[in-house]
Symmetry: C2
């Protein structure tokens, strides 16, 4: 579907010689993959392109082609700057002034919350990934062919933001684009392995502790697991490392509700709640002044842990029984 | 692409009134999903269809529509019998005579090893799943529309056999078919959760024991984990439960070679080997009279465990160093 803003963005890129691409800080597979793909396409059109990052490329994305375009410090003031996969300009970090000082500011993104100001800002919330927008831009506006390197970057972008085609943002269009990318004979199983399967030492340790703490109640319908401050205080735990730990309980056969508690600092707990089929866990979270959705919710609470768990059990068991 | 055998299969199905569909024993998501989809399509065309199974539908597939067609005992001798997703007729189990006694025997499958004899046998080894063949059959030979229930069954079939679009058998055509199936507004995240994420108590226990046994050597490049006969003897462990345990080590950051040993019976070990980037693990397996591929191999050996591990370390470490 033709879009006038995207056409203007394409024209501005095609008409300029020096361009800087700016993905959001802590660039993930979509931000980095989209930037590299766009960078490779523009380089192929004879443009001078820098991709400016503040961090190292994460090790799970170290296979991405086009990294020779990545710079840590700006060479100059650029004619054109492109904000990529980023809905909030403060998430450019130290590179924000560089964006503001560029002669022409462009922005492409898919976040509904986007409030970036630019000469031309294209936000497509139906795109599962900014990679989909870059695909559209290259094929339908630049009218250029892709190549294998670009296809690897875009495939990485799309699988990252769709959880490997598992999230609800995945659309028929997403799969049709990836079908086209596969025609460039990319090693897609390798991409998926790198993006999703690699885990850190810290994560494995947290998984082990979580599994060891797992208790089942109510005929195996309620799973409770936790990490104490003792467990984590000597580790450099990032927020990402906690991701998915509540699913260990949720994915166990027969479980309806999974509770995962972590003690972020002495006596201060974060609770994650998940359900599989019928219990509305947002109602449970609300009793702790938290919130969320029917199948995924969360809350903060002060300990002791035993008290929180006692209260959780009291609230959850009748729900499991009533609605079973 | 038009195929004459598939056309004959379609004609025979369209011209008969009573049909039995026979997926292989221990039907997985592809065998069952393909059978249910075909059953639903034929029922929609006014045919009398039974799907005959020897086992219960596994709990991770209990959401599949069309299960009212499933029977445990044959009602009669059928005019037409269809062997589904099965390359070896003995894998029909007790239902083999029923297939042989049918007036018209048809077979659809995607296994390269297929040696089923039937009046019309269609084997498409390029299809990632038999579900893709059934999709082709319904749309292009029956020339019928799909519906949401059929789409759920076919999507389940395809994600099962492609590991959620991760295996090398996934093709552009696979994604294009699934893009079409998504248009029926199926809850594909739920399908994927049911097919892949649910784990058994036994599996979680084995994961926990495996993680607890994990040792890293050679600056974290070699991961060794194991299960002893003591660990497993009191559990009803199925071969499936061991699947993926070697990947716990393989997926850990920095690991090149992962070894997983399990003691199936007192003193008898099965070894699994995986590598990520450069070590040829088939060469390692060969030293134990085993074999496999560069990145995945296995062997059998008698214990004691310490001796096997000692020998493995001796062989693997120089390979990690030489090829690094």
């Amino acid at each position: 579907m033709f879009d006038e803003t995207l056409q203007k963005i394409a024209e501005n890129l095609m008409n300029s010689e020096d361009i800087v691409l700016l993905p959001h800080i802590n660039a993930d597979g979509d931000a980095l993959g989209a930037a590299l793909a766009l960078g490779l396409a523009l380089t192929g059109m004879g443009k001078q392109v820098d991709i400016l990052l503040e961090e190292e490329v994460p090790s799970n994305l170290d296979f991405l082609p086009g990294q020779e375009l990545i710079k840590k410090t700006p060479g100059k003031v650029y004619t054109v700057a492109v904000n990529i996969d980023n809905g909030d300009i403060s998430r450019l970090g130290k590179r924000e002034p560089l964006f503001r000082s560029a002669g022409i500011r462009l922005s492409i993104d898919h976040h509904a919350t986007n409030r970036v100001e630019a000469h031309y800002s294209y936000v497509n919330t139906k795109a599962a990934a900014t990679g989909e927008i870059v695909y559209d831009l290259i094929k339908n506006y630049f009218k250029r062919n892709l190549n294998k390197d670009i296809a690897i970057c875009l495939y990485t972008a799309i699988v990252t933001d769709t959880g490997g085609f598992r999230y609800t943002n995945t659309t028929p269009e997403t799969l049709i684009i990836c079908a086209d990318l596969m025609r460039y004979e990319i090693d897609f199983p390798y991409v998926i392995k790198k993006v999703f399967d690699m885990i850190s030492y810290t994560k494995l340790y947290l998984m082990k502790k979580t599994i060891n703490s797992l208790t089942l109640l109510e005929n195996g319908k309620l799973a409770i697991s936790y990490l104490t401050y003792e467990d984590i205080k000597n580790y450099d735990v990032k927020n990402d490392d906690y991701e998915g730990l509540v699913n260990i309980g949720r994915n166990l056969e027969g479980v309806e509700v999974s509770v995962f508690l972590r003690e972020d600092s002495e006596g201060n707990f974060r609770g994650n709640l998940r359900s599989n089929d019928y219990v509305d866990v947002s109602e449970i979270a609300e009793k702790f002044n938290g919130g969320g959705h029917k199948r995924a919710a969360g809350f903060n609470s002060t300990g002791p842990r035993e008290k929180i768990i006692e209260k959780l059990i009291e609230i959850i068991i009748p729900k499991i029984r009533r609605e079973a």
